[in-house]
Symmetry: D2
Subunit: 386 residues, 4 copies
């Protein structure tokens, strides 16, 4: 039971299980793991694929020859272990050249270099089979708003994305873009800080149909927002292209905890939303083992992410089949065909009809929706006592 | 100096200076003020107009006759004091009938009643001359996500907004809609929690051209987001239709403080953005005097909001004319015509050119942008020592 | 199973189940419930007692005769239903006279009135059998630090508490004081904002032995702090005199959710700490039903609080008896009698010995503590799959 | 004007201006600076002293000979430039051995090693002239509460501090300890998270008279708490032994911004509190230049910290001498000698007198304290328009 299989489409970034445990106040506690070794280990644990930044695999200063050798060895490892690379991305945040932004740097040369690096990384991703390309603009933001009209940042960002959309089309790649919003850290304020901001931005792009979202549990939670609602809005807009699962306490530094480690209830609703939606993509874990852990702890962490997902998936079934929950949900939702018909689509007549109608305001206010009970039933499903 | 005049377009809601000082833990500390009296006092202080919810002026259970009498007296007061009503809105949050949502209630009758109430309130707003209609969905959210697929809430919200857009067009009203996002309070999680979420949602509406934003300083700040960046994104999208100015400490309950009371630097950048943009609409203060205050304190509060805006507006001039700041900004931004030309608009050739180009990554990383100095200069402009 | 009984010492405030569902943006959604009715209902649900503010029972303007009649009827209700009043407190926050503080008001008359009101409320509490008197200084704080040297506020607070300690001793009452910290709301910043602040303040009182803590889950969580750690520090200092159980999302407005509704894991550790400590006092639920609910929802809410506590209490057993968890905990903690002996109590010799000792720093850093696995096992206990 | 001098007692940590600009998502952007060079540069800028962690000066694996040579050269630099070392501390957070705590590690050998390292660092600090020894327990906390009864952590922490107090006394050192609280980061929850927690903990120590506080602006602000109130409580308790000045947005990752960069008003009140209190110690800036900056930016940052302090110090004078502010403060505070006499110190008679007294509750509630006006005047002093 709770055994991860390829059909579950669980993926991890090379940078997640490969995280060496460095943080702002401390040196690495673990050795780096070779990409091929990660592929092998994850495959043994039941994962379906791995994702990567260009420099997770190919060092930033590798020669063309080195790059090709590394890529070819990595493809062999993928093939040996039956693993796929469904998503790829560019590291536009580690190198000092990006310290004040990549696509939004005030230095035109940095913006151009970021474009170059991304085109190369797109080529790499496509070569490895990726169908989704993620943009996490970790350095696209500011501490000093005097420096830079924030309007200019957004314009540069759009210019670059428009350019890259054209590049993908020009190359004939079968690739979609997914923006990954984050409110802050490492920058004081990152542009496009939330799922919603990214959706709003996409609406202004030349090829908005190619661009969607990669929402991350921890990032939305850092802004004190409901990740469940964020994912729902992305789904509603047809823009859930990828998803980053992990965990986090609200309104604090980026923790990237094991999926389900902190907010079991929110994790449950995310799994419910994914399993009941048309989203058929990867369940990507963008988290890492605690810095305290050795390599054994890293694999426990990876197993835990997948196992908790599957436990919660089972609970979705329990929830949906619980007769008391069913009854509570039915009682909660009050339909009225006649009235709903009036408001469904506008006509002068239906507007007038609605205006003339008399409502018993006090009765509407008195009705008890049964939400405390419904929530308690949910908690009991979560705690495994129903 | 710092004397508010009509040309500054300062407005207050009836509910702001009229706030009686009730809070979750305490009874009102001030008497209610009559709308006509508020109009007179604000006019004397130099405000340009007042905004209102339907029930700020007309009680929820007023008869048609009472309603007409109240409205006629109020119009007289406006005319007597040369005040306008640029914006109006509906109260869809105080009455118990809306306790579990208005446009997103699970009870179809509540949704219909909310539509009816809003059509009537739109009629009222238009009668008073309003050109902007604000939607703050205070109860559109949830505590119990089990109750309601959050997907359904967004759909109902859209259905209602589409209906109301048609209503406005059908009536031939010259009216635009402005959504006012808020992350939480009074609901645990409000749908469309941030400026970005509202922008993303607007893109899915039938008449998105009619619908824009009314961002509020406090609301964006409650989510720990930069209000300056939010306003910039709304401007970038051509969607800044109205603005709510006030103040707030991050990541806590809704404080609605006097504009500039807490975050002087952010307030300065907001004023700078507004004054330098094409936005020509009202500067609306959606705040209220502290509960400790008597009526005299209320008017000090109102004066303070406008006075601080004008002080900061003057500082925008100082900032823009400061030679050291000018030099710092010039040094900060590095253009390169040739390179910018390549990335401006895509062609296979320009992409290839960018790919072939060689960048001195280390030199790019070494460059000092001078941001600490620029920020210190800004702080000194703010503190009035430059 | 999970049936609450008197031995569990579950208590509710009259103001909790009696909360009428008013909030800053909306009118009450429920009728007030009579105190005697609350006593009866809670008793039927299995609660042990009720707690109260003076004005939950006796209106602020009641005559002495009315007061005595009300109290006598209430005592009868308690006796009829076998319920106790283990804790009482004063309402020093609702009335406008306390709008700028009670014990810390800048108006000497308000401070004196607060003392008078508290002495009377102490008399009332003792008459009803209370052994613990709680101080929640909801208005003891500020928005405007210019007004009041925050130093003065702390001094006035201490002066009042010292006075009241003497009053209790002088009357020969068997009563202890418990301070309830809260970071903000309704004031921008409340004095003594956290469990720690209250502990620090207690150390400066004349009769610090009489004064302890009443930590509240939601309040500590509002400051983004770990409630479990706060309770642990109070226990460590011998100062856990009472406890307020509820739930809350971090870093936002005061939600007072049903116990266990949001943070199941933190709730589990709180229950574990209480059940394994010497704390034998009430398990008080300082929460209220969602504003959406009718009276039926209120009793579901109350049942849910107690039921979840008992479910978690059972899980403490499961956790403690799980062999893999036991093994993980044993492996985690590494003792070394010789070394621990050196550091236990100081001597020049042991200090020298420690200084001379050679440590294998790298080996210490390499050791894997197994925390990811331990945490995953805990989550699985919580989810009921172990 | 605003020229820093030795008399202002401005200090910086070697680690602050020496920060190389590494963060969780990026590599260093600046070269390391030699301690002697830092001393020289800071001295030129007008600083009074430098503070250090043991390993800021002496590498963790230095031999005794290397250590002595480094220290002797550093003392020469201090003497050459007339700089002092008023405070020193131990790095108990960077090395992997401390990954799960130092004084609170579950591994007894780590606890012992932390004691050894701290005794050596105390010797070093004293040798350099330090009078204050700071304890920032960056790793003293947890992510996994299952691992470790939080009670045990506090006990181990106390055991270590008691031991180290004895060590200092035994050595005859003239040295006080100052605890520096922080709520989280790098650990999920750090023990003793706030100023108050540290005060509460100190009350449980064997030699509490030797131990006080080193509150940090950013740390208290991360918990959404008022730093001004925290410093006031430390002063009230006679425990302000040192202070860390910097800046920070609320409820997010540790930013360590330039003093006064973000919250000018809070910074003003902190300066006011320090200048008007008996605190005569260093004004220590525990901040660092933005990662975007080169070395020139670092020195601009350092100059800005000191310059803003001096500007705000001048504003304290302006505030105190402003006749309208004086009048507002006088009107705000209402004394009543007779009534204050009753509550000052307890007697049965005064208690009875207070109980018998009649208060005009409504009049107390009606009084307007003038806080909006006072706050606006303060803002105008800050903005330099008064």
């Amino acid at each position: 039971m709770y055994e991860p299989k390829a059909e579950h489409k669980f993926t991890f970034g090379l940078w997640t299980v490969g995280n060496p445990g460095r943080d702002p106040f401390g040196e690495p506690t673990r050795s780096k793991l070779a990409p091929a070794y990660i592929v092998k280990k994850l495959s043994e644990l039941g994962a379906w694929g791995v994702n990567l930044h260009d420099n997770d695999l190919v060092p930033i200063d590798a020669s063309a020859g080195e790059r090709d050798r590394i890529v070819s060895e990595f493809k062999e490892a993928l093939s040996d272990h039956g693993m796929v690379v469904p998503m790829a991305t560019t590291n536009l945040f580690s190198d000092p050249s990006f310290k004040d932004g990549a696509f939004t740097s005030a230095d035109a040369r940095v913006r151009a270099y970021a474009l170059q690096k991304t085109m190369n990384a797109i080529d790499l991703g496509v070569e490895l089979g990726a169908k989704t390309y993620v943009f996490w603009g970790g350095r696209e933001g500011s501490e000093v708003d005097a420096s830079n009209n924030p309007l200019e940042g957004i314009k540069w960002f759009r210019e670059c994305l428009n350019f890259l959309c054209e590049y993908v089309k020009d190359q004939g790649y079968d690739l979609k873009f997914a923006l990954e919003p984050k409110p802050n850290e490492p920058r004081a304020d990152i542009y496009l800080p939330t799922v919603g901001s990214a959706l709003g931005f996409i609406a202004t792009l030349d090829h908005s149909e190619m661009v969607g979202l990669n929402p991350e549990f921890a990032h939305e939670t850092m802004a004190g927002l409901s990740f469940v609602h964020g994912v729902a809005q992305a789904l509603d807009a047809g823009k859930l292209f990828h998803i980053d699962l992990n965990d986090q306490k609200m309104s604090r530094f980026d923790q990237d905890l094991r999926f389900g480690a902190e907010n079991q209830k929110a994790a449950f609703f995310v799994v419910k939303l994914l399993e009941e939606s048309a989203y058929g993509g990867p369940r990507h874990f963008d988290a890492h083992a605690l810095r305290t852990e050795d390599e054994a702890g890293v694999w426990e962490f990876a197993k835990g992410c997948m196992r908790t997902y599957l436990i919660l998936k089972e609970k979705v079934e329990v929830f949906n089949n619980d007769p008391e929950i069913k009854a509570a949900l039915e009682a909660y939702k009050l339909s009225d065909a006649e009235i709903e018909n009036l408001s469904k689509s506008y006509s002068s007549a239906s507007a007038q009809s609605l205006k003339n109608r008399s409502f018993d305001r006090e009765a509407l206010g008195r009705r008890g929706p049964g939400l405390e009970r419904l929530d308690q039933l949910t908690v009991e499903v979560l705690l495994g006592v129903r």
